[in-house]
């Protein structure tokens, strides 16, 4: 084998060590009442994510509780991955093409076996329903999709690999490419093409390590165009408004701070993913202040779009200038506002 092949095999094998620390598989559910989706993660030895909420929902249609004991596979998935990594490393060290073939075949077998096993579990889980369930739809079963999207009542379910799964898939693909590359070298084909194959393999490998997360400030409100996520009113008053940015970089805009609080109350799954909350500066129309740094003022005389009667300021001078014009007002903390609706 060429040195480049041996290095890449070693690298991709070693990269799979990361799968012990990241989830392998994910199942997501969306419904109108969960716009952020419910995300369940399967790790090599346990479950993670929102499976407790999913359990709460599934209970109504008579599905069993999802818990770690349901998956005896957790006992040996880690060992199987270990064997795969070891095989890759041995291949790299020995440099034998037959071992590379074995490595590729093992990868394919693992994939097929895992999908079959997952299908078997999904079938059992979706069909074995409690006959005393609160909601019963005749003839309905709730088998999750093995891979891809599926509609179950008013939920859309998605099942697919998570980071760990993708790493293993990428490693297998790289190995397959390399095997083809080596076999082609044996036949002494043109070198130019071969370099391309190697490069593609490198790109595939590299791309698994690059994630597309980017830092993001508040997204400006387009007054007269944007609508409030909660009350659907068009945002027009430039002295008021608020915005949530979630960990998934989704932006939610509100015309008034009570809309924001009420929305978070109605959608706890969004609340869990809140990264930052911004509020519009009353004295500098359209500018944002992180809500934790904002000075909040409540007065019946402040006419906010949805009647929260709360204005936000970035400096004490600004706040005092307005407060002096009001006959009765009260300063508030964000913690107080959060709990007052």
């Amino acid at each position: 084998m060429k040195p480049i092949t041996r290095i890449l095999i070693a690298l991709s094998s070693l990269s799979m060590i990361a799968t012990y620390y990241v989830p392998l598989w994910q199942i997501q559910l969306w419904a109108p009442q969960y716009p952020e989706g419910l995300n369940m993660k399967i790790w090599h030895n346990h479950l993670g994510g929102a499976f407790d909420i999913i359990n709460g929902l599934n209970h109504y249609i008579g599905m069993r509780l999802i818990k770690d004991e349901m998956f005896p596979e957790f006992a040996y998935i880690g060992i199987l991955i270990g064997i795969y990594i070891a095989l890759g490393l041995i291949t790299s060290i020995s440099g034998k093409i037959n071992l590379l073939k074995a490595f590729v075949v093992t990868g394919v077998l693992y994939g097929v076996a895992a999908l079959y096993d997952f299908y078997r579990w999904g079938y059992d889980y979706g069909h074995n329903l409690d006959p005393h369930a609160a909601i019963q739809v005749p003839g309905m079963s709730y088998q999750p999709p093995v891979i891809g999207y599926k509609n179950l009542l008013n939920f859309t379910a998605y099942s697919g690999p998570d980071i760990g799964g993708w790493i293993i898939i990428a490693a297998s693909i790289v190995a397959t490419f390399l095997l083809v590359y080596e076999l082609l070298i044996d036949r002494k084909r043109k070198k130019a093409e071969l370099h391309m194959t190697g490069k593609i393999a490198l790109v595939v490998l590299a791309s698994t390590f690059i994630s597309s997360c980017s830092a993001q400030g508040p997204s400006p409100i387009q007054f007269g165009k944007d609508e409030c996520t909660h009350c659907k009113m068009t945002l027009t008053d430039q002295k008021f408004g608020a915005e949530i940015i979630t960990t998934t970089n989704k932006v939610y805009k509100y015309d008034d701070v009570n809309c924001l609080v009420n929305y978070l109350k109605a959608y706890p799954d969004v609340e869990k993913k809140v990264k930052t909350i911004y509020i519009v500066d009353y004295s500098n129309a359209g500018n944002f202040i992180p809500v934790t740094e904002a000075l909040l003022l409540y007065s019946e005389e402040i006419r906010s779009p949805m009647g929260s009667a709360i204005a936000a300021f970035s400096t004490i001078q600004d706040r005092d200038a307005i407060q002096n014009q009001l006959s009765l007002s009260e300063t508030l903390t964000w913690e107080k506002v959060k709990t007052s609706y």
């Binding site: 419904a31 009542l153 165009k225 659907k232 027009t236 008053d237 002295k239 129309a285 949805m306 307005i322």
Partner: protein
């Protein structure tokens, strides 16, 4: 017996006449002994009639605290010089007619208005023109007011912080008849208002909504026209609202609609026309609404009904020329559609009872896709989408199974002519004002 009747008639006429002429009638303003209007207002007694002579007055904020009739000759301009609120009424039983009120000031902490009515009752505002004011006519904490035949024109293009045309906050039994409101934030705004009627108004080209209801129960609006507003009409968090014979048209935009119904219950939407809107009606969290005999013509979506709506009755409406008839965002549907006319219906009526033999499913597959992925709108009218829709019609799998019209009409429903407007029978006491921009130049 007849003599007795005549006697009562004459006596009552005399008494009425007497009560009317109890107060004095006098003039103020240019060329009179009272050039300062506020002085004249302070001098007047309850029951007096004060008439302002023709002229352009820059006299700051005028306060009316007594029960008087405050009338204008032709072309009386009250100018706030972009500094002041112009008329502030705090007395009961005030009548204001025929003024042109312009250029109010703007303040960040106070809502300044052309005419403000504060905590009082029995007010009549008629034939006034309000131009270039922050809020046009502002009612707060009032009861039994009649606003008739006023024209309000705001300046929202230059100042996006302009307030509402007719703004009513915490009120009861208000009648708003034959007014025109344009260039404001909301044409007519109701918050915490009950038992009121809005008839025959024309609300157009406002920044946000033609009409905006919040927490306002048991109100009726009929025979109004809402055209080219930012997003149409919003009716929110209210119950027992009656919406009859209105026309909603030309509300275009990504989040625009004819009406937004948000958390509305036990209400009626009948005999209305929805033409050329991005969405005719957008409903969310609304229950028990009766929608009958409306016509939806040439809208992007005729009806966008979110899964949070239940027990609504959508009967005997005409759906013609809409890109999408109905769209929704959920699989389950708990609303009742029946006896509507759908121009996209392709079934036959073999038993000739006037209704199609197979149900019509107004939600197309593509409208479901757009609901989840708006940019896919690019593909509309493409061959692929046509095929998808056809396939879905034959074997429905993604569209809500229960959302269908079991008895679609084969012919367009002929509605009775919109009944003659109620207010056209009301007399006009003074001249009919028109918005005349030349006033602004003087």
């Amino acid at each position: 017996m007849k003599k007795l009747q005549l006697l009562i008639l004459i006596t009552s006429a005399f008494l009425l006449n007497f009560s009317r002429t109890q107060g004095k009638q006098f003039f103020c303003g240019k060329g009179t002994s009272l050039p300062y209007i506020q002085v004249a207002l302070d001098n007047a007694q309850s029951g007096d009639t004060l008439i302002v002579r023709t002229g352009h007055y820059k006299q700051g904020n005028l306060f009316i605290k007594k029960s008087i009739s405050f009338l204008a000759e032709k072309n009386v301009l009250l100018d706030g010089e972009n500094k002041y609120e112009i008329l502030t009424i705090t007395g009961d039983q005030v009548c204001i007619k025929g003024f042109t009120i312009m250029n109010s000031g703007v303040m960040s902490t106070k809502d300044l208005a052309g005419i403000k009515i504060l905590a009082c009752r029995n007010i009549l505002l008629e034939n006034n023109i309000v131009i270039n004011c922050n809020f046009g006519i502002y009612l707060s904490n009032t009861k039994h007011c009649l606003l008739r035949n006023n024209r309000i024109k705001g300046n929202v293009v230059q100042d996006p912080n302009t307030g509402n045309g007719i703004h009513v906050w915490k009120a009861d039994s208000i009648q708003i008849i034959k007014n025109e409101s344009t260039g404001q934030r909301d044409g007519i705004y109701f918050e915490f208002v009950t038992n009121s009627t809005i008839i025959d108004n024309f609300s157009h080209e406002n920044l946000r909504y033609g009409l905006h209801f919040m927490f306002s129960h048991s109100n009726t609006y009929t025979n109004n026209q809402f055209t080219k507003n930012g997003a149409g009409v919003a009716v929110m968090y209210s119950h027992h609202v009656k919406m009859y014979h209105n026309s909603f048209d030309h509300n275009w935009g990504s989040s625009a609609y004819g009406i937004l119904l948000k958390d509305i219950s036990d209400s009626e939407v009948m005999f209305n026309k929805f033409e050329y809107n991005s969405a005719g009606i957008y409903m969310e969290g609304s229950n028990r609404i009766k929608m009958e005999q409306n016509s939806f013509y040439n809208n992007g979506w005729a009806l966008r009904i979110q899964a949070s709506c239940t027990d609504n009755f959508i009967n005997r409406n005409n759906f013609t020329g809409n890109t999408f008839d109905v769209s929704t965002n959920g699989e389950t549907q708990l609303n009742n559609f029946s006896n509507n006319y759908w121009d996209k219906y392709e079934g036959y009526d073999l038993n000739k009872d006037g209704y199609g033999d197979i149900p019509y499913r107004p939600v197309s597959l593509f409208s479901m896709i757009i609901e989840q992925l708006p940019p896919s709108l690019l593909l509309i009218r493409s061959f692929m989408v046509y095929l998808l829709d056809k396939a879905e019609k034959i074997i429905p799998s993604l569209t809500p199974i229960h959302l269908m019209d079991e008895l679609p009409q084969m012919r367009m429903i002929k509605f009775k002519e919109t009944k003659k407007s109620l207010s056209s029978t009301l007399p006009y006491l003074y001249y009919q004002p028109k918005l005349n921009i030349q006033y602004l130049k003087t």
